[in-house]
Symmetry: D2
Subunit: 422 residues, 4 copies
């Protein structure tokens, strides 16, 4: 027997997204899925997608489920059916789009890093503060905070289960540019990307460390290096499939994307260009609570694919996480008798774990995309409730200031460099 | 600038799904997502959802994205806008629905186990064969074949990289009913579920083992056990939150669902009922190619949440997999010099890996739900191409015959019992 | 300033050892080392080594630190300076030597398996019982009981920390004869070795499982297989370096020894012989306390070198062990809140752990040889105290009866076969 | 039949050891065992043990197997039956003893760190160079070089299997002083120990990193910290069992020894003293071949017991090691197709692996003590052959210079500080 559908009488929340590459694809999946798993107070509507290329953007909109297309992000912002602007472009356009959107009264969720410079980030924070006074909210998309294991780590540190923190050991290891023949994609160009591994993946692990510990990095001493100083130009030869140059028009942001990979077997002479960003960045530092931190971001760690790793050692216990096994959190309870203690592998899929009740039975793990579903869920709930979502643009600026301190220290003989206060 | 959307001029494929509990939810997500990641020749349309309860089904349809609702599965089958029937109910209704759908000319995808008895499964196979003659196809939903790591394992065994197979070590370990106070949900009732751990999760690991090896189990020797013989009736007390009884009306199939978990803290006398299915089943057996197999399915392996594990040892190498770390396949290449050999952890997220190119960059893992996305993708492609999808109902029957042989052996002093030929 | 040495005024305990191959070497190291780490009530003296070949035995005595040599084990037993006979020969000579030694009033420590048949083992138990009445003691050398992690597992099961036991999952996996060109060494000959993987390594894992659980296997259903039925004769060709034939005169017992490895690159026709023992044995069974057991012993698990593995699942927790990581015990405490529970890796090197206080600081692990040091320590302490050491010959017989039941079941269509009571 | 023993007609090599605590115990076991496993050209004789306390030293000599006792190390050096002096005292006495021994024509093996200051180490190197001209040799005892997995790592890097090195990630993590009530043992006093975690365990991981890479650290930027600045005096109260003060007279060197653990449950006021060494030291640096290095040494990493870890990433592959699983080396071969590559766990017990042929069959692992057996074996072979053993005192000085650079950088705002050339 056919029965009437139940009307969905929640208010709608219209989304306009700019950019549809790696980040745009995963954001789309999150917008598409979030309502089926979380009981949201409003109904997100995938209203319009923005991109420069008419054909490519229209094709993306069709495949990803966006109802309309705009080739100018200003038009996207101006749409009446858009209440949220989701910025998935490279860092060099974040400030301009975000500030315009906020001034237009649209909520903003912006990919990381917040901007390509501290100055841009400061302007964005100012815009976000002004907008907040008008009930318009902004969030920077550090999705790794929404890994259930990371959220659980934060919860336990906040509850004091680790005691006084002594050590933070944080790495983000990838290997997708270890081959010198990999081309000069936009992520390797300072103008587009702001920095190299540092801003792309280092930003993630800095935010994750500050999030889990609830402490701020107060100062750093750093080394950076560009191992391969000259690379083939992307698209410079027919033999190259890397599309860094062409996709950059509607490029993406987010963490390291070997998606824009290269065919290194080009015949004949290949035009090359200089790599002007870091291939790797290492730093040590001090946290506001007294802990020492050791950080490393690199795209040259052969065999490590997406190893965002963090270990925190406290007086009462320790936690360890590796995104390559993202459903696991390792916990050592130092208050147990020595004979019984050891790092335990907690599969973070129990109903009691952050976000997990919305999904499957225990042991039926989640994947990368779900960190975005959680992020969108938290963002939507905050916006609907009229409260500020986290992480804020100020949090993004704080990370930006750490990046700046790292670069300053590296440029000044690794001198210990305080992170500027916000 | 607003631009025209590109019309999607692919033919549509209308889906009608029966059941909306655990399996229905994850199938819905697969139907909703598959088109955004795979370039399908047809466009799946989530046409209608079937369930007995008008209100509950309508609410589920709204949340899960189905366009219409039917309270009688016969009506669902009869709809003109339904070309595929997706069966997500418990095993006791599979045969009736599947046969009716096939006879009505609708393609069928049916959750596992195929049926609750060999006789039912045989009838389903007969119906599927008849339908195939008319270009109508059927598939049984052993989703674990679509874990990229499992598909990779199959590929490598088929390529001969393991040489002659000697051992298969297969387990499916869960722990969600280890507590004697956990209630008598439908999965613990023979009438609904057919068997206990054996049919629910044992069926999965049997299929996975036969899939990876490309060999059939020829005979088995088995032990089964019911550790907790009496359990509180689900819903028998207000203190119980388990909803086995109430959800069973529109229950689900698939693997073990602690989703229907219980509050064991019931005060006062609680009505109990007998558990008439196995809590655990163990068997050893012989494969058609000469390998020995060791199998175990249990819901009493405390600490193991969803450990579908399989290790295969061959003369030239070995493979090991554990669903609790589903993005990893462990491979030992025995043709390497001894000093260099060892099990290597392959993160199955490279573009060259099965299904992986559709998703994210290396190291950005997938989750449980994606096994269904892959399954739906393969099903849709087969149906669109007019070829038989795999695994077929005959494959499902083959697993059913193994289950029957296991039960027969266990009932006959563990005597080695040949698996009947199909 | 030179100072007088402190006299060691403890009574001495003279040791005579028979056999000096793999087991003889590691027993020698244990006798040599035990006094430096454990405060023994007597001082072991490595009095004499027995072996058939005059030259080889004398060379071994010199290298291994034995004070004298005997070419007839009867002479060894008869020596006044020998109070303990340590039997490190293959299983076919255990009964004769052990019974003679016990009758001569010498304490006996005998390698496993206790004997090559139940009948021999029964005679040995009878001799041990008679000797015990005269204060003469016997022990079978199941060294894996003395892995600190295994002893800790036993302790915790005995304390009830696992609750009611439901599952035992036990394997002993090696791969040293997976190559069909590996020669027919004594371990592959029924006459010398009694059985194949079953008695050699299966015996170990059976004893370990019964030891940890404190329960006995009551019945089994089994499959055995010989994958490679014909092998080159050891020593049959100058091109072979395997020395199975020649070393067998003074061969050794204990677990699988690829030490007698082969050169498989023999040119020309090679004489071959039939393998009349099992390459692999699988069985399932029931424990006296109600747990189900799954066992596997094989030398064809490519990539697994010495993987004696055991997992025990109980209602209150689980334990898992793998000898390839012998300093670790994995413990899941099921009484913890679900959100905090998981298998924890306990590094069994704390002072509170069995045997560990005698060695190094935490994290400074032990190796294979130390299981023998611990075994010798326990044996010497028991003998000095006049109490029966464990495991007794009766324990060895119990394992022998399981082996016999496995072979009987395998020969009788895998029928469930009770283990004979002692 | 009794047969004549075979005379051992090798020349003897008389050993005199100074110190008998942690390091003395493990060195003794190595001297005692080495000849039974390795075919040495000379026969080591454990001639005499040196220590200040007459009674304690005599008891240690009896337990550990030394033939004589000296209470003045000068007398020990002077003995005619001593050709080798093995120095197992804390770092503050290394220089004096080693220089005297070398001048007396005795070969020297000296525990690490070589000395407590660069100046002392320089004097030792000068003495070693002078002695070498007279055929007298010296070695510093960085035992971790002799872990088979570490030696294998070195071999593969030297063979070019890792290609150009980009990253070294090295940590030595312990947790034995995380409790603020742990007393002020000698390892926490600058006067005795030279530095804290830095010199004790940091020295090990620096040497290991330089050994594996074959490169030198050229400069560092460092942070050090003392988390617990005041601790109870060891032995200051009857309630304390820690014996740092009393054992220090004949103390030991080597890596972190919770052996001198404390009872923190002292009643009443406890006298305390200032901790004047680092609890943790972190630094980043550059290697001579261009790799970046990240180092950390701490005794506050709760849950990490003896985690000497090192990962090296090169253009052609990566290696990873953790002493807590010392029989394993993880190798990623980046020259394999991406679909097949991954870190493989090599169990370093094959006959082809460094040192392994002397021991047991594959999978029968070694322990901490065997690193010393290997070290002694290499030392004895070098001395017998009249060649310089490695690591030399110059290698020890090189590590000392790194330690000095770390301290200098930490004291100077983490400024990048070149390591002085030797």
């Amino acid at each position: 027997m056919r029965v009437l559908m139940i009307a969905d009488d929640r208010p709608t929340l219209g989304i306009g997204m700019v950019g549809y590459a790696f980040m745009g694809r995963v954001h789309s999946q999150a917008w598409r899925s979030v309502g089926a798993f979380f009981d949201l107070p409003v109904r997100p509507v995938m209203a319009a997608l923005g991109g420069r290329s008419k054909e490519a953007t229209a094709a993306a909109a069709r495949d990803l489920g966006w109802a309309a297309v705009e080739t100018d992000w200003r038009d996207l912002i101006a749409r009446d059916d858009v209440q949220v602007v989701d910025i998935c472009t490279p860092g060099d356009s974040h400030a301009e789009i975000a500030i315009a959107a906020l001034e237009a009264g649209k909520h903003v969720i912006c990919e990381k890093p917040l901007a390509n410079s501290v100055a841009e980030a400061e302007a964005m924070v100012a815009a976000a503060r002004a907008a907040a006074g008008r009930g318009v909210h902004a969030m920077v998309a550090f999705n790794y905070r929404r890994v259930p294991a990371v959220a659980l780590a934060r919860r336990w540190v906040a509850e004091g289960r680790l005691g006084r923190l002594h050590h933070v050991r944080a790495q983000y290891l990838q290997d997708w540019i270890a081959d010198p023949a990999f081309p000069l994609v936009w992520r390797l160009q300072r103008e587009r990307a702001g920095s190299g591994a540092l801003g792309d993946i280092g930003a993630h692990v800095i935010d994750t460390a500050q999030f889990i510990t609830g402490e701020l990095l107060e100062g750093v001493s750093a080394l950076t290096e560009t191992f391969v100083k000259e690379r083939p130009l992307a698209g410079a030869s027919a033999g190259l499939s890397a599309t860094g140059a062409t996709t950059s028009a509607d490029g993406t942001s987010g963490d390291g994307a070997p998606g824009d990979a290269a065919d290194s077997a080009a015949g004949g002479a290949v035009a090359t260009g200089a790599v002007d960003v870091d291939d790797a960045a290492l730093f040590i530092g001090r946290f506001s609570g007294g802990a020492l931190g050791s950080f490393e971001a690199t795209r040259f760690a052969t065999g490590r694919k997406n190893a965002l790793r963090i270990e925190v050692n406290g007086s009462r216990g320790s936690l360890a996480f590796d995104f390559e096994a993202m459903n696991e959190l390792w916990f050592h309870d130092h208050t147990l008798p020595a004979a019984e203690a050891g790092f335990r592998r907690i599969i973070v899929t129990e109903a009691e774990h952050p976000y997990a009740a919305a999904w499957w039975p225990p042991g039926h793990g989640l994947g990368y995309e779900h960190t975005f579903t959680h992020e969108i869920k938290d963002f939507v709930e905050a916006v609907a409730a009229g409260v500020a979502p986290a992480p804020s643009f100020a949090d993004g600026l704080r990370v930006q200031r750490v990046l700046a301190a790292v670069e300053a220290s590296a440029a000044d003989g690794s001198r210990f460099t305080p992170v500027e206060e916000s």
